[in-house]
Every structure is written in C-alpha cells, then in structure tokens.
Symmetry: C2
Subunit: 209 residues, 2 copies
DNA sequence: AAAAACTAATTAAACGTTTGTTTAGTATTA
DNA sequence: TAATACTAAACAAACGTTTAATTAGTTTTT
C-alpha cells in the first residue's frame, strides 16, 4: 500500500498518540487536530479508527521480516558472534521504533485473539525457529551447552528490552542522566543494553552449571 | 480503608476488566453489569471511575511494602541464597496478582506523571536500594564480582517475568501445554521461571568475564 | 410499644459531553 | 467536466456522572 503525504502524516501522528495514550485513550479528533487535518479525512482515507490502527501496523511490519535470515547464511562467524549480531539487530529494531513497540506490547496484553495479536504471534514463532537453528549450530560445534530453553531466552531478550524502553525515564532519573540530550541518551541506552544482554546470553549459552 | 462486600465486589470486578480491556476500554456500565450492581453505586461508593482505579491500586499495594526487608535481616544465608529467595519472592508476588500486574505495566507505559506512575516509581526505587544493599553484602564477602549494574539486573528480572506473564498463552501453545489444567500450568511456569532467573542471576553476579 | 425522624443503601431515569462516523456541499485538480 | 480532495455540520450511540425518588434499617421521641 502506498500513501500520500497527508496519509503518512495521519499515520505517524496516530502512532505517536496511540503509543502515549493508548488506542482507546486517543480520539479521532485528537489525531486530526495534532496532524492538522480535517476530522473527516481520517474516515475518508482509512475508513475507520480501527483500520487506521491496522495501517500503522502494516507500515511497521512490512519491512520487518527476513531481517535475521542473512545472519544464518554467513558461515564465517562463530556461533556466539552470530548470537551477538542477532541481539544487536533486535535492540536496534526496537529502539528505532519505540512508539510502535509500545503499541504492540499493549495490544498483545489486551486483544488476545485479534488479527493483530495473531500477527505478532506468528512473527514470534518465526523468529524463535531462527534462533533455535542458530543455537543448534552452536551446540553441534560444541560451543554451546545442552538443555537450553530457547523460549525463556527469547522471553528475557524481549522482556528486558521492552522493560528498559518503557521505563527509560525512570532509568534516566536513577542514573542522573536527565540533562543529557535525548539522542546521546539513546546511544547510551543501546550500548548498556547491548553489553548486558550479550554477557547474559554468553553465560546462559556457554557456561555449564 | 475498609470496604464492605459490595465494594470489594466492585473493586475486584474492576481489576479483572481493567486488566483485560484496559482502563479506557472498560466502561463504568461494564463494571456495574459484571459486578451485578446498579450503575450509580460506583459513583456513590468511589466518587468516580478514576478513584475506583485508585482503590484497586490501594488494595493491591497496601501490603506490598516491606516484603523483601526480612530477607536482609537473616544473616545465616549466603549472599547468593538471599538473591535466590528474593527472586522467588518476586515471582510469587507477580504470579499471585497477574491481573493487577498487567494494569500496572500498562499504566506505567501511558501515564508518565500520574499519581499512580509516581507510586510505582517510588516502590521501584525502594526495591532497588534493597537489592543494592544485598549485592554489596555479596561483594564485600568476595562472592560477587565488581561492576554490577543493578538497574539492568532489575530490568531483566521485571522484564522477563512480565513478558512471560503477558504472553503465557503463547508459551502454552509453543510448549504444547494447552491441555494442562491452569493451576498446574501456573506451577510449571513458576518453576521454569525460577530456574531460569536464578541461573541468570548466578551468572551475572558471580562469573568473571 | 408505637410513631416519628433520621440515615444509609439502592434504583431508574436523565444529564451534558464526547465518541466514531456520515452527509451534503464546496473547492481543487486533471 | 468528471473525479478527487476537502470541509463544516450533523448524526446516533456510548460515555461518566448526577438527580430525585424509594426502600430498609436504626434512633429518637412520644
């Protein structure tokens, strides 16, 4: 689907407002005002508020697939290095689209059986299969230990990242980074999270205990 | 604050509906119908929908404080064992009140500066100070390594638990536990999570790398 | 002990807003 | 001139809250 400037403007405004106020907490009038368009344009272009939400999802998920897959094809890297690449790739993806990620997390909590929830579920399954393959490689190479619960590993990856993203204002306060410009803080966040998750993965994948 | 039977009924119905549909996604009429009380009783008893939400929070947070503190006073346990106790205590607490936890997570995302968000923030800070003390003990005893980022440690604890709780239906499906009765599944979840987080904490606190 | 006065609990109905969506008409563009 | 873009106004439904009236239970007065 291709959108003109005005439609793009509506979509990104909707994304921002849905992220900070929730779907039900955002009125179509809020979106129209903030986007600087007439109220009726939203129904005109998207049909309904619900379909506008779906447009937000469509935009964000369109180029999301197949991002990990190239990792597996690179045979030159050690299994652990591949896992590190995957972790950084995931962190990048989430930090790049924080607003959308918030929406996704909330939708996952609320609508257990909506079309959107099913889509999230499918993406997760696909990603899990990829990670499983990657870990199997490492196990066959004798570099990873046996009995690794991939599901819990993913849960920690997703959970830690989500938690840090949604409570970054808290992190900013506690670590006295309130005066830091936001782009610099984002870099700091990424670096910290990357280091943390990598040492965590290394421990869970390689150490016997 | 003490509540009569009817008020309790309203509060727990509200908790359930807020958890599954969100605050804005739940109407006062929904709550009244589900709780089997007249619509006006909610305003009569609680003043407003917002104050009803606060009542839910008040109920759940009243006896939440000082739960960890006894852990620190027990001098007979090794530092790592104390951390293990803390992890299990946290898991128990979250799994006991999953519905409320969902509400809290969502509120944290949305209302960055509400009274509720501030309360959550304070609780977190207090808990972090306790964990810091606990870790310092272990470091002085030479059993924990230096340079431990307590904030990220907490983020992983909270994040992993939250993520597993909110996507437990997914976990159920992937691990083929759909036919398992719910109380048994909850026990299974608790056990899995406990093992996972403990080995994770052990790695992050003790191994040098 | 009976009657009256008072308090709290409960109800159906209505209040004024806000909601998402539609309509009917006007401007713009190709 | 035909199609598309756009607008102000109106729509009915749903919303949180309030009202006025009724019931039930307790206290006070006679």
């Amino acid at each position: 689907m291709e959108y003109n400037d005005k439609q793009q403007q509506i979509i990104s405004t909707a994304e921002k407002l849905f992220a900070s106020n929730g779907f039900d907490g955002t009125s179509v009038r809020d979106i129209a005002t903030e986007a600087g368009v007439n109220l009726a344009m939203i129904s005109y272009y998207f049909g309904s508020k619900e379909k506008l939400m779906q447009a937000v999802f469509a935009m964000r998920t369109e180029h999301m697939r197949l991002r990990f897959q190239t990792l597996l094809e690179n045979k030159d890297l050690a299994p652990l290095q591949k896992v590190y690449l995957l972790v950084d790739d995931y962190i990048d993806k989430i930090l790049e689209q924080q607003e959308f990620h918030k929406i996704m997390m909330r939708e996952q909590m609320i609508n257990k059986n909506s079309a959107i929830a099913l889509m999230i579920c499918e993406t997760k399954k696909r990603n899990m299969e990829l990670i499983k393959k990657l870990i199997n490689e490492g196990q066959k190479a004798g570099q990873f230990k046996k009995n690794i619960d991939v599901m819990l590993l993913m849960t920690t990856l997703i959970g830690t990242t989500s938690q840090l993203v949604t409570t970054q204002h808290f992190y900013r306060e506690v670590s006295n980074h309130q005066d830091m410009p936001d782009d610099e803080f984002q870099k700091h966040l990424k670096k910290k999270l990357s280091t943390h998750l990598k040492s965590l993965f290394k421990a869970l994948l390689t150490y016997e205990n």
